[in-house]
């Protein structure tokens, strides 16, 4: 059925041919005349006072044009707590924190000069995990915390940068009436984003003093705003441009190295490029929040879920960044997609002397879902129920409300659960080799897509083709293609008549960020609205040209407007735009600005619950099934088959949706089985891609994506997001399979061979 021309088609991504040819210029591929190269000096200590930095020899070294230390950055920054510094000033707070930066004529010269800097450190006691940080009398990571600017001004205990409490019903009383109560403590590790393109930036100052910063980022507007804070310059003097992004997954949502490149360019008045090495990436960038989750779930004998309580402790590392938002979001999702009337979710984000934790695909949800979805299976086992039946019995449906009272408009969760159950049931039986066990585990997934504001501009060019500008950065997921499809469909134009402009603060309208699974849903809404407005303007012109009412006109494929019922009576977009440009009315330009309904920041709400944003977005659901094989001799677990079903409202580009699902599942397999940045005594023991295991092609099986479509009323063509959900239920589903195979619940990720062996043969 040709309901749509472009929407619903797996059109290849717009930059595909350029990417597959190696012709796309990522940041490090850009050259400039007179370019200087940056290099960094990182702290070897997790906590130390900087007694003295001697840069004399470095400044005198060949080729050196600029040496920066913490004293060169007087302004702190931070979206929630103004605790961040670009270079450590007087004190280092994690091993890997940058202490000095040098710009020189060549990269080799910059690195050689770095080696000439002498730093006199006074090593101090460090708190390198949350228990140490919360112990009475613990060393404080930020002694001046109370003096920092904060979005939430409620008082907090030492080494706590955020506290949130969400509560509905009366959980304590409800547990007393439950037939079954399961309790557990779960722990999750520091997962590294491990995008293939290291963080990088190039900065250049114009003659007038305005600075332009190119970088791989998730939001040019956040880069611009943070640079304004750091440099003490108005946003009008700062231009941020996104270069093609070589993967991100949340790791490039805040600034990375842009402030350093910018300051070096301001000091030298030369273009400066700074590209991290992979080693520096591991030492100084970000990870997913390590978490400790204490959780109780209570149910009645018939399987009705009644109560849940969650206490979440997130290790936020040395700087706050997005920790308060990750905490609030995790607690909002900790109920899971179930009708549980009595809920108490409380949590802390804690400072430690570790590299900062940040947003990472799922934004706290993978941690709480690991705990919550594990307990759903434990309850099913205790009651002797089928775990999928238990989920189906309790799952939310359209019309139900989420924690906090927001209505769920569309929910294909039941269909997703049944789809993965049926697909798994149909799998061919294979003979399991002696010495191996093979079994299956399930999980349900809920998430939210949306968040805050965005906008779009649609301009009809003189020949009737269109330039679309949204400020959205395509991180590789295919946002540009999907947004072009929404625009093309609305105008019935072929896709090659849509030009998607790159994100550039000088020309793009505001977009909060590419994150929160929001681009298709939120930016798509802005694109659809702006395009409808452009279409109406085209129809108005056409009515005047054809001397009829615009209401009697219709869009025809290929960029034409015609009189309904009269095939030959039509004008082309080309003719309309010529008229608009040269005769009457002026060029057709339309824009739309949207904010998720009721989704703004509320200071009072922030103060009361610690959770700042009211309605975040639209609810999205999925279900996952994993067949897992464990080797009884080695304890190695491997996924042998996997199914991942997601209600995306409508798949604008099914191949793109499938790519998100399979890619997210594989990151989830890494999280479940391999990935952990190990810290000992405040230093990483595996800060490289050899010792930190990212799943390769031979580590994962063929994954079956299943697309479910329950159109979201507010979404463009009914679409909603899918970027994050596929990672969320992987670890619990694999854990549920291991429990089915061993009878033992593994509560700590990753499920390493040693942990699986312990499940097979519990230590005496």
């Amino acid at each position: 059925m040709a309901e749509f021309e472009t929407v619903g088609q797996s059109v290849p991504r717009l930059a595909g041919a350029e990417k597959v040819s190696g012709r796309v210029a990522y940041l490090d591929d850009i050259q400039r005349a007179g370019l200087l190269h940056g290099a960094l000096l990182l702290s070897p200590h997790p906590h130390a006072r900087i007694r003295r930095i001697d840069t004399t020899a470095a400044r005198a070294a060949p080729g050196v044009r600029c040496v920066l230390t913490g004293a060169d950055f007087p302004h702190r920054y931070g979206g929630f707590v103004r605790d961040e510094v670009v270079l450590a000033h007087e004190r280092v707070r994690y091993a890997g924190e940058p202490v000095a930066a040098i710009a020189a004529a060549t990269l080799e010269q910059a690195r050689q000069a770095i080696a000439l800097i002498e730093v006199d450190y006074e090593e101090l006691d460090a708190v390198t995990d949350v228990d140490a940080a919360l112990a009475p009398g613990a060393v404080r990571v930020h002694e001046d915390f109370e003096r920092y600017g904060r979005r939430n001004i409620a008082p907090l205990p030492p080494n706590v940068c955020a506290h949130t409490l969400l509560s509905e019903g009366d959980a304590d009383a409800a547990f007393a009436g439950c037939d079954v109560v399961i309790e557990g403590e779960f722990r999750t590790p520091a997962q590294v984003h491990a995008y293939l393109e290291p963080c990088s930036a190039l900065a250049e100052v114009e003659a007038g003093g305005k600075i332009t910063v190119w970088s791989a980022c998730q939001s040019v507007f956040r880069v611009q705003a943070t640079l304004s804070e750091v440099l003490g310059m108005p946003m009008s003097r700062i231009r941020a441009i996104a270069t093609p992004v070589g993967g991100s997954f949340g790791g490039k949502s805040d600034v990375t190295v842009q402030p350093l490149a910018a300051m070096m360019a301001l000091r030298t008045r030369r273009p400066v490029k700074l590209v991290l090495t992979r080693h520096e990436e591991f030492l100084m960038m970000r990870t997913r929040h390590p978490a400790r989750i204490r959780i109780r779930t209570g149910a009645m004998r018939d399987g009705t879920l009644v109560a849940r309580s969650v206490h979440l402790t997130l290790d936020g590392g040395a700087y706050t960044e997005d920790s308060p938002a990750v905490l609030g979001f995790a607690l909002l999702m900790a109920r899971g997609p179930y009708r549980i009337a009595h809920l108490r979710c409380e949590g802390l984000a804690v400072y430690t002397h570790r590299l900062r934790a940040a947003g990472f695909r799922g934004y706290g949800n993978p941690q709480v879902s690991f705990a919550g979805e594990s307990q759903i299976d434990d309850i099913a086992a205790r009651l002797g129920m089928d775990p999928v039946e238990l989920r189906l019995k309790n799952c939310v449906v359209a019309g139900d409300t989420w924690v906090g009272g927001q209505r769920i408009e569309a929910a294909g969760l039941r269909e997703c659960l049944m789809a993965v159950r049926d697909a798994a049931a149909r799998r061919p039986t294979v003979e399991v080799r002696p010495g191996y066990r093979r079994g299956i585990g399930f999980s349900a997934v809920a998430h939210i897509c949306g968040i805050l504001s965005t906008s779009a501009i649609v301009r009809v060019l003189e020949d009737g083709s269109v330039t679309l500008n949204t400020g959205a950065v395509d991180l590789g997921e295919g946002a540009e293609t999907v947004l072009a499809q929404i625009c093309a469909e609305t105008l019935k134009l072929p896709l090659d008549r849509i030009n998607v402009a790159p994100a550039d603060t000088d020309g793009s309208p505001y977009n909060w960020s590419t994150g929160g699974s929001r681009t298709t849903y939120m930016v798509g809404r802005a694109v659809a609205q702006a395009t409808v407005d452009a279409r109406d303007k085209l129809l108005t012109h056409a009515g005047q040209m054809l001397e009829c009412s615009a209401t009697d006109l219709e869009l025809r494929s290929g960029g034409r407007v015609g009189l309904v019922g009269v095939p030959g009576m039509e004008v082309s977009f080309h003719a309309i735009s010529q008229r608009a440009h040269w005769v009457a009315g002026g060029p057709v330009i339309a824009h739309a600005a949207v904010m998720f309904e009721g989704g703004g920041f509320d200071p009072k709400r922030t103060l009361l619950s610690g959770n700042g944003i009211g309605r975040l977005g639209a609810f999205i659901f999925g279900a996952q099934a994993f067949e897992v094989e464990i080797d009884e001799a080695t304890g190695q677990a491997a996924v042998t088959r996997a199914w991942s079903a997601h209600d995306v409202g409508r798949a604008i580009n099914p191949a793109g949706v499938n790519g998100q699902i399979i890619g997210g599942v594989v990151q989830g397999i890494g999280y479940a089985l391999y990935e952990e940045l190990v810290q000992e005594g405040g230093a990483s023991t595996n800060p490289n891609l050899a010792d930190y295991k990212v799943p390769g092609a031979m580590d994962v099986p063929r994954i079956v994506p299943i697309i479910v479509e329950h159109p979201e009323p507010s979404g463009p063509f009914g679409a909603k997001g899918v970027g994050e959900p596929p990672i969320i239920g992987v670890a619990p589903a694999i854990g549920n399979a291991i429990r089915a195979l061993t009878g033992v619940r593994l509560c700590t990720l990753p499920f390493s061979p040693q942990r699986v062996l312990d499940a097979l043969e519990p230590p005496a």
């Binding site: 797996s10 290849p12 991504r13 930059a15 595909g16 041919a17 990417k19 597959v20 040819s21 190696g22 012709r23 796309v24 210029a25 990522y26 490090d28 591929d29 050259q31 984003h193 491990a194 995008y195 293939l196 393109e197 290291p198 093609p244 992004v245 070589g246 993967g247 991100s248 997954f249 590209v275 090495t277 992979r278 991180l475 590789g476 997921e477 295919g478 191949a655 793109g656 499938n658 790519g659 399979i662 890619g663 997210g664 599942v665 594989v666 990151q667 490289n688 891609l689 050899a690 990212v694 390769g696 092609a697 031979m698 994962v700 063929r702 994954i703 994506p705």
Partner: protein, 152 residues
Amino acid sequence: MIDITLKVNGSEQACRVDGMTTLLTVLREQLLLTGSKRGCDYGICGACSVLADGRLARSCLLLAADCEDRAITTIEGVAEPDRLTDLQQALVDAGAVQCGFCTPGIVLALEALLDVDPKPDETAVRTALGGNLCRCSGYGAIVDAALKVAHG
């Protein structure tokens, strides 16, 4: 410094290197062939993959001075500038390209496979990709594209 001549994508290139300069650095910084990516610079991620005498190699682990006698093919030399190989087209069509940073290395790994094993099965394809990390795609569409090119 050493003056060397490299044979890259069929043409001879005069380069000046020191003994420790890697092929990747020469390709990117002297010859401006930036399709080979610096993902880790220590031989794990595969984003810098090239063909040396037709065999897959990591240009970040090769010393440029050792490559004088080898025919080097980079992603820029896989097809004519305005053309794609069947494999490249299949990768685009299958939705196998996401951020694209690993893609040049993936293309070369698969071209090297198809050169010696024109009809690989899925295991052979996954094995050939074993040295190339992709953090976006989960490999599914990449494997599909390779199998489609090989088996139609």
